[in-house]
């Protein structure tokens, strides 16, 4: 095995292995998070960008590894570097998590509590591989992991029911408030004199959806067609006849092309 290098292409190298028994040493590569697009959740002076993280590694594990450099505020995993699309849920629910499955290797953003942690990490010198799985916070693998997942997937229904009830009560309240608000605004002109048409009033406006719009255009077209006269004038007759022959010719031409294509595909060799 090659001697562990300290840095590669601007990344710092951190040797790790799964546990004491394992012989395979993996390397995490990390550097200071510094990109043009600013993201408020990843302040550049406190965020570390880590790559080459195997799938089984979890937040807790990284938090523990980097805590020797300074207090870690939070850890995010992403499939690819960039601005994360899923904002952290405002309200954490025990039962209804927005699962964001990351397949295979992933990258992580480690956010320290203060900038010194980042500086420490950049300078840190690793003597020997760190352990990913320890006695206190083990990482399960294989059968064990799946068993655990299985057990975790069975929720406590009474707790869940309670949470649902709360959520729904809350939701209903919000809905009610909104409705009250709209009824209040119904028919009331705003400062510019515009009146917002809602679906609540005596004459509810048609919802502005794509479906309704296409429906309207089709209806209009139909109406227009009704008023038109077909095959009334002589020239129309002639025209339609000509059109008919042209159509036949066109189809004939198309068929010929098809035949050529079929021939190329050796479609006429029966045996």
């Amino acid at each position: 095995m090659a001697a562990p290098m300290n840095s590669v292409a601007g990344f710092k190298v951190m040797p790790v292995k799964l546990n004491n028994k394992s012989d395979v040493v993996r390397y995490f590569y990390y550097k200071e998070h510094n990109v043009r697009e600013k993201d408020s959740s990843k302040p550049s002076d406190r965020t570390l960008f880590v790559v080459n993280i195997p799938a089984y590694c979890n937040e807790e594990c990284l938090q523990r590894l980097f805590s020797q450099c300074g207090t870690v505020e939070s850890v995010h995993f992403q499939q690819k570097p960039g601005i994360s699309k899923t904002k952290t849920a405002v309200e954490e629910s025990t039962f209804f998590k927005q699962v964001n499955l990351i397949k295979g290797y992933k990258v992580a953003y480690v956010i320290f509590k203060n900038p010194s942690g980042l500086q420490n990490a950049k300078k840190f010198n690793y003597k020997q591989p760190l352990l990913l799985s320890t006695e206190e916070s083990p990482i399960f693998a294989g059968m064990k992991k799946w068993c655990k997942e299985y057990i975790d997937s069975i929720p406590d229904t009474t707790e869940m029911q309670k949470e649902i009830d709360e959520y729904m009560a809350n939701y209903d309240r919000q809905e009610l408030e909104e409705e009250e608000k709209t009824t209040e605004l119904e028919g009331v002109a705003d400062s510019d004199g515009w009146i917002t048409v809602t679906r609540k009033g005596r004459k509810p406006g048609l919802a502005r959806t794509e479906v309704n719009q296409t429906k309207a255009t089709v209806q209009e077209k139909k109406k227009r067609e009704k008023t038109e006269l077909l095959n009334f004038y002589r020239f129309q007759f002639r025209e339609s006849k000509r059109e008919h022959i042209a159509q036949l010719r066109k189809r004939f031409e198309e068929d010929k092309e098809k035949i050529v294509a079929m021939k190329a595909a050796r479609k006429f060799k029966p045996y």
Partner: protein, 1056 residues
């Protein structure tokens, strides 16, 4: 008015052919296709005033052919199968020199007929001479006339195996007055050919000379001359002989006459001479050979439609293998039939080839030559009338002379098959578009193994000889010159048909054809025949009946019945209190029921023909073992009845459906739900009868070593757990204003429903349930059902997005598609496939075999289950050119064929589930598909639900996987068909095609990873589904060792 135009086209096309023979693209409709590729007609061209010629062509196309594309297809096909130019100069040269040689042949000496020692070494007589004695003198003289006859002259030659027929007229001096008796003529004929063969042996323009039997007739050998050089690859010359018209009186050939004396043939004196119709016919046909040709030639004059129509009909016959083998329906008979129809005025000379074809097929389908024979001859008094023929032949088609039955050698079975195929073809021509029917009519082969539902081989044919007496067919044996197989077959078939009754729609028979043999070998004997192959086309309505009811016990027919069935006949009392004779075939399972015909046939052949069961190889259930549940339980002391173990999954599947029904009833019975249930539908494959191994009923008490959390059992890392699949059920709730308009809120409501359902099911029916936010698991009647509550509007909500202008749009997202598939399309697919299975019980077996095959080649994760199901459904919905598969095996064979031979690149597969396409949809799909082929998946399956997208085949299979699938399918099909036709000799290992070539995977790392990800698949199976309080024992699937896999490695493979 139309004629000149067509002539014109043809003439111009021919001239162009002459000018550049090599260029294929140029041929055919020359007036329209310029050599360079022209993309689109310009506007000016499109609207230019039409010429008269053009107008008539356009009109003619719509009048005489269905569509212009179909017309072009036909003309392409004809160009493909007929020789390029009318006269082939090198062939003409060979014929000329042959003529020269024959004309200069020296006369031979006179010998006694039985003395054949004078024949030069290396030449054998191509005829079987039993009994050996015969009166007559043989004397060789050069032929009185040499003429070219047959399809070459009529320009109806079709590839492959094109041949030029030459007929030599045996000169009168060589023949004696009584030569028509006792096979003397036949032997002279053979000797004559032997002499010719000797003389031609060393000429340089012929590569080799062989003997062959004309249409498998043991007494009509012919010479096959292969010209040397390039021409020999495409043409062979067949040499026949014929008789001068003054050979004998025509009345000799009357079917009632006897020309093979019994005392000569058997050596016994004093027995009455019985008519020898076949023998007489074979003489008569040599008398009238030339007349037939002249007749056809005159009919075909200025009638191109007939010439082309005959070519089409010949291709049609060839693809169905009807013209081959012994007693085939030859192209000659077909040509005569067309001329017959012309004489009937069913055809007229203005008709196109397509109309000739269609009318001929129509006539074939709607006439019955076994009851009312047809005749080309206008009757005069002394000629035999058709009634005379009906006494002696099965199939009757009398020629112009009135003395020849052209169909004398055509067996009843062969004729019935032709009739059946004609009916089928007509049906398809009417039901599907012309362009598609072209494919079914001419381009698809209908081999024996794929045509018939069940097949059986009878080997060791010597048993048949002994039963000739039993069937009282000894007259017929002498008529056939000792060929007992041909003589006895009609009787055997009759017995089998009577025995199987309504179960079978069509019997097919196939004899292995005799090969051509070299001139220094003895002719093949009928005793050399190794086996006969029979095919059965089952009638799904009756084929599985286990009971045959006979006449009442006290009636007169009862004795006949008992005699017919032997010891199988028994007296039974029926529900209507009648006591009748009956035959019952013991069947434990569905698999046994499918093979009732097997039992019947083996029994009857043993009883009546003395053929021991060991000589019969019945193919119909030979792949059943693959559908049996793995029998791990054997080494456990579990007391399961034998029946449960040996079934092929049909019974288990039924049990699941019953359990589902009971669950359905329970759910419907729940009174206090806030919203009522709109529909309950299962979506697991088992509800489509498409699960390879339907789950077993689980009724054992709790097992050791599993952890319990509450009443829910949980797996432990080191304890293997039994495989218990969950069966997905979608329970759609009614729409109501009470549902919120917010996705998160809907999620909560659904979870609340799950909890509620679980509680209520437990309370009301004591069903063990477990609820989570996504589903409820319910343990009903030994099966675990996973119920998902669905709300149709959720899909719409997922699709909704608002544009910056404030317009509400519906756009597909991955999430919405997923949900739509789970809750809307899958239930629909399930009910559609369910109904297919209801009308065709073989659907289940076919799908499961197909799935088994795909998964055994480790490609299961690349081809979705639903895609396989749709492919199989296609076979049942559009079975052209076959009938609907009547056994899982034949369905599976056709599945392989479809997979291997469908043109996936250029054509979508349109599966018309529940007949929901509208008129224009078909063309629409094709056009859209052609337009942007690259955007569609490699395998495109269109269904009425998804006309222009193929959700079941996206994103997999990729092009590479599809290629591999096609390759595997082709090889598997070839091997399996080979095995099926060879199995009369030895046991075959039919599981061979289900063994993946693992060797390949071990070498190539990429493929190995596929293998592993498949294992991963299996792990997932164990994981998700081990539940409930009552399991015991090991996995019954081979997933156990996989559990040790390192997850890191697993994920690595996922990455690759």
């Amino acid at each position: 008015m139309k004629r000149p135009v067509q002539e014109d086209n043809r003439a111009s096309s021919e001239t162009s052919e002459d000018s550049d023979d090599g260029d294929q693209i140029e041929k055919g409709h020359v007036e329209t296709v310029p050599p360079t590729k022209r993309s689109k007609l310009s506007k000016a061209e499109l609207y230019k005033p039409p010429t008269n010629v053009e107008l008539t062509t356009l009109k003619e196309t719509s009048a005489l052919y269905e569509s212009s594309l179909f017309r072009m297809q036909i003309s392409e096909l004809i160009a493909e199968v007929t020789p390029k130019s009318k006269k082939n100069s090198s062939l003409e040269k060979v014929l000329h020199s042959l003529y020269g040689t024959l004309d200069k042949l020296p006369s031979g000496k006179q010998y006694d007929l039985t003395d054949q020692s004078w024949l030069p070494d290396g030449i054998e007589v191509p005829i079987i001479q039993e009994p050996c004695n015969g009166k007559g003198m043989f004397f060789f003289e050069k032929p009185a006339a040499v003429k070219v006859i047959g399809s070459y002259l009529l320009e109806t030659c079709t590839k492959p195996n094109m041949h030029v027929d030459i007929v030599l007229q045996i000169p009168k001096v060589c023949l004696q007055r009584k030569d028509y008796l006792n096979f003397v003529y036949h032997r002279k004929r053979a000797l004559y050919l032997a002499c010719i063969a000797h003389q031609l042996k060393n000429v340089d323009y012929l590569e080799n000379i062989k003997y062959s039997y004309m249409n498998g007739d043991y007494f009509k050998p012919i010479l096959i001359l292969k010209p040397s050089g390039k021409i020999g690859k495409s043409y062979v010359i067949r040499v026949h002989t014929c008789l001068p018209e003054s050979f004998c009186k025509l009345s000799i050939c009357h079917p009632d006459r006897n020309n093979v004396r019994v005392d000569w043939f058997t050596g016994r004196q004093g027995e009455p001479n019985t008519p020898t119709p076949h023998y007489n016919n074979s003489i008569a046909i040599d008398l009238f050979m030339e007349q037939h040709l002249r007749h056809l030639f005159s009919e075909m004059e200025d009638f191109t439609g007939m010439r082309e129509g005959i070519v089409l009909l010949k291709v049609w016959l060839h693809q169905r293998q009807l013209n081959k083998g012994v007693g085939g329906f030859t192209g000659f008979i077909m040509s005569m039939l067309v001329s017959y129809l012309l004489s009937l005025k069913r055809l007229n000379k203005l008709m196109s080839s397509y109309q000739v074809l269609r009318n001929t097929l129509y006539f074939l389908a709607n006439s019955d030559w076994t009851r009312r024979g047809i005749s080309l001859c206008k009757h005069e008094d002394d000629e035999p009338i058709t009634a005379d023929y009906h006494k002696h032949y099965d199939v009757i088609f009398i020629d112009t002379s009135g003395y020849v039955n052209l169909c004398a050698d055509v067996s009843r079975l062969a004729y019935l098959q032709v009739k059946h195929e004609a009916e089928l073809s007509l049906k398809y021509m009417e039901s599907i578009s012309a362009v598609d029917s072209f494919q079914a009519l001419f381009m698809t082969k209908v081999p024996f193994t794929r045509k018939f539902d069940h097949i059986f081989h009878v080997s060791k044919l010597s048993h048949l000889q002994s039963c000739c007496k039993q069937f009282d067919v000894e007259d017929s044996v002498s008529d056939h010159g000792g060929d007992f197989v041909t003589a006895v077959l009609p009787s055997i078939v009759e017995i089998l048909e009577k025995g199987t009754g309504k179960r079978i729609k069509l019997f097919g028979m196939h004899q292995p054809p005799h090969k051509e043999w070299s001139v220094n070998e003895k002719p093949p004997h009928w005793k050399d025949l190794t086996h006969l192959t029979f095919g059965l086309l089952l009638d799904p309505e009756y084929s599985m009946r286990v009971l045959d009811m006979g006449p009442p016990a006290d009636s007169q027919e009862a004795a006949d019945f008992r005699q017919f069935w032997g010891n199988k006949a028994e007296l039974r009392r029926f529900q209507d209190a009648s006591i009748c004779e009956a035959v019952v075939w013991p069947c434990m399972t569905m698999a046994d029921k499918r093979l009732v015909c097997n039992q019947i046939i083996v029994h009857l052949l043993k009883l009546h023909a003395g053929i021991p069961p060991g000589c019969i190889t019945y193919l119909g259930g030979h792949l059943d073992s693959l559908l049996r549940q793995p029998q791990d339980e054997k080494h456990k002391p579990a007391k399961k009845s034998r029946k449960e173990l040996s079934g092929t999954g049909d019974e288990e599947n039924l049990a699941v459906i019953h359990a589902f029904d009971s669950l359905n009833k329970k759910l419907r019975g729940l009174k206090d739900l806030p919203l009522s249930i709109a529909s309950i539908q299962g979506t697991s494959p088992v509800f489509r009868y498409a699960q390879v191994f339907p789950p077993n009923v689980l009724h054992k008490p709790a097992s050791r070593g599993l952890r319990l959390q509450g009443y829910i059992q949980c797996p432990l890392p080191h304890t293997p757990s039994q495989w218990v699949p969950v069966l997905k059920v979608i329970c759609t709730m009614e729409r109501s204003g009470k549902w919120p308009d917010d996705l998160l809120a809907i999620q909560r409501i659904k979870a609340a429903f799950h909890i509620r359902l679980s509680q209520m099911l437990h309370k009301e029916y004591k069903v063990v349930t477990a609820a989570t936010d996504k589903f409820v698991d319910a343990f009903v009647d030994g099966f675990v059902f996973r119920i998902h509550v669905a709300y149709p509007r959720e899909v719409v909500l997922l699709k909704q997005e608002t544009t910056p202008q404030g317009l509400l749009q519906l756009r597909d997202t991955t999430q919405s598609l997923e949900l739509e598939k789970e809750t809307i399309s899958l239930p629909k697919l399930t009910s559609a496939l369910h109904s297919i299975h209801q009308s065709n019980p073989t659907f289940s077996g076919t799908v499961r075999l197909a799935k088994r095959w795909v998964s055994s080649h480790l490609l299961y994760s690349y081809l979705k289950e639903e895609a396989i199901e749709l492919l199989v459904a296609h076979l049942f919905l559009n079975s052209a050119p076959f009938t609907v598969p009547g056994s899982p095996v034949v369905g599976f064979l056709r599945f392989l064929h479809l997979l291997a031979n469908h043109d996936w690149i250029n054509n979508p597969l349109i599966v018309n589930i529940s007949d929901n396409y509208k008129a224009g949809d078909h063309d629409d799909i094709l056009e859209k598909f052609k337009c942007d082929r690259s955007q569609h998946p490699a395998m495109f399956i269109s269904t009425p639900l998804y006309k222009l997208s193929s959700p079941w085949t996206t994103p997999d299979p990729s092009t590479q996987v599809l290629q591999r699938l096609i390759l595997l399918a082709r090889e598997s099909l070839q091997l399996l068909e080979q095995q099926m036709s060879d199995c009369y000799e030895q046991q075959q290992d039919y599981k061979q095609i289900f063994r993946p070539p693992v060797g390949v995977y071990d070498v190539i790392i990429h493929l190995k990873s596929k293998y592993l990800s498949k294992c991963d698949h299996a792990i997932d199976y164990v994981r998700g589904n081990v539940i409930e309080k009552s399991q015991k024992g090991e996995d019954n699937r081979k997933i156990l060792p996989v559990v040790n896999f390192d997850p890191a490695e697993k994920y690595l493979q996922e990455l690759q």
